[in-house]
Amino acid sequence: MLWQALTLQLGYNATLVTLGALLLGVAAGGTGTFLFLRKRALVSDAISHATLPGVGLAFLVMVALGGDGRNLAGLLFGSAITAWLGLLTVQWLNKHTRLSEDSAIGAVLSVFFGAGVVLLTVIQTMSQGRQAGLDSLLLGSTAGMLFSDAAMIAAGGAVVLALALLFRRPMTLVAFDANYAAANGLNVSRIDLLTMGLVLAVTVVGLKIVGLILIVALLIIPPVTARFWTDRAEEVWLISGAIGGAAGYLGAAISASAPNLPTGPIIVLVAFALFTVSLFFAPARGALSSVLRHRRFQRHVHRRQGLLALANGLPIYERYTMRLLSQEGLIRPDGVATKIGERQAASAMQDEHRWRLLREMPAHEDIAARYDGLSGLETILTKDQLRDLDAKLAEGKT
């Protein structure tokens, strides 16, 4: 069943939803990257909650004009308008009052959502509103999705993706260093507005599939996950889009493979699973690799300091150092250096002497800056340079 879902063989509707979720995920992951790098991830929470009153108003207006209140395009248009208002309110509060951005976000999201709930209760008491099912936009609902809905979601996702690709350079620059971007002649506030506009578009497009409460997850989790895998902005962008797309595709497929598996929450949980795996096991910045890197560093320091102590004829008391040295056969259990130990201690000592001399030579200033008390100079200098250095060392001694 799951296999059939993954290979898009579960029928028309499931295929539509899965492809729509894939595109939505890629668009959200890509766009969310700029938001995350700009350290404003939770602004999207305000935007998504602020869509609710727009949905209600759009329904009321469409019914008042004699149309079908459930027209998805109309509902999404309305939601975009109030979401935009919500975003402007956050920025206005942040700029013109002493309130910080987090207070502004919280105020906007709760108030707009509350107003939306009031409108929903109004609609529920209307005769036309009883079957409106607007509350399905809270958590998303993919059952009985129309082809026109799916086409709109796919087209929306594609447009967002294209815009994000087109403007990725200025948006990345602003996300990393707004002052530098401004000094380079970029209009920071306009680019911020563009980023937010794309986020808003993703939110609106995602309402039908993921719902307004969980859409922020698709904007936040993929970039945070991608950040564990790389330190390069362009790669974060690509990986984040891939993770978002994978979460959308897998989530929608899993949800289609059995009853009672709501699409939105499953997509979010797949994304979270990818996040958890990356948090621990990603090679670049994962927790496990950090621990290993730290341990390796610790071992280097202890080994080096132990060897220097041996060379200076000082006794070693530190347990970890003793264990390390005796494991490598460099000292005997009573702490006296073995033959190999003496040789290595001497070479460590010689390295320290070389470094000390090097630091006094203005010509090698840039190399001297790389002294960390760990790496041997022979890994940095050429053989000729080492020979010159050793010659100077010998001069100094005589």
């Binding site: 995350f36 350290k39 404003r40 991830a41 939770l42 999207s44 929470d45 509060l93 013109h96 009052t97 002493r98 309130l99 910080s100 987090d102 207070s103 976000i105 919280g106 105020a107 999201l109 709760s110 108030v111 707009f112 959502f113 509350g114 107003a115 939306g116 709930v117 009031v118 929903l120 209760t121 109004v122 008491t125 509350d135 809270l138 958590l139 409460i213 969980l214 922020v216 997850a217 936040i220 989790i221 970039p223 945070v224 950040r227 564990f228 009672n260 598996l261 709501p262 939105g264 929450p265 499953i266 979010v268 949980l269 994304a271 979270f272 996040f275 948090l279 621990f280 910045r285 927790a287």
Partner: protein
Amino acid sequence: MSGAEFVPLSLTPMLIGVFAAIACALPGNFLVLRKQALIGDAISHVVLPGIVVAFLVTGSVAAGPMMLGAAAAALVAVVLIELIRRLGKIETGAAMGVTFTALFAGGVLLLERSDTSRVHLDVEHALMGNLESLIWLDATGWHSLLDPQALAGLPNELLRMAIVLLFIVTLMFVFWRPLKIATFDEGFAHGLGIPTNAIGLGLVMTAAIAAVAAFDAVGSIIVIAMFICPPAAARLMTDHLKAQIWWSVGFATLSAILGYVLAGYGPLWIGRSDSVSAAGMIATVSGVILALAALAGPRRKGLTA
């Protein structure tokens, strides 16, 4: 309106609304000042998985297990956020976004997978509460307030909310000084030997208790709105912490009463028959108050302006 109608139908929901609003606004003052306003948002989202798990474990929707489950979920969320922030070296906002959405998604999934058809447990209820249904059927008028038999029929939520409010007020009195110093100058507080980390965690847990108790009665929208809007509006009125707290209590009370009245009676005034969501209206009113304060509050620009 006569007492015979007002006391049984509107007095208790109104009082519960006021108590819930104040209980959330009090810790909200410090959350806003410490730039942790969104912790309230995160907590109110994770309440849902908490109560769903509590329901699955106990099989009932009794208040006790629900509140325990919600409190446990809040604690799990706070720990997870901190863990992800430290392990992954990512900023708090993103860590929060990852945590509460994932937990909320888990809650919705559990709810869909389990058989909750015989009990009243769904996402809408969690969001919007059921303030309107907390009526006092045993009352017949104002004199019922002195009638022990009628008083026994008061909704449980009223007593619970009052106790939680009292608890929070007591905590604030007891920890006033360390809390104040730790909020405004963490380094100085540290120098005085105040355990700032414990104070921070205690504040968040207090907020969680307020959120969980209020959530049971009024839904999570009010909780987030009351954590942030009254304290934020109060912050625009004054530079003094004590005055700010009094303002926020006033704003919270005003929002609760005005919001309830507008939701219950407003539609009647404009000739419609059905009331609208009281929770939504209370949040909306608090937003209007904040908007007025932001436009005209005497200290809206802060000290530098």
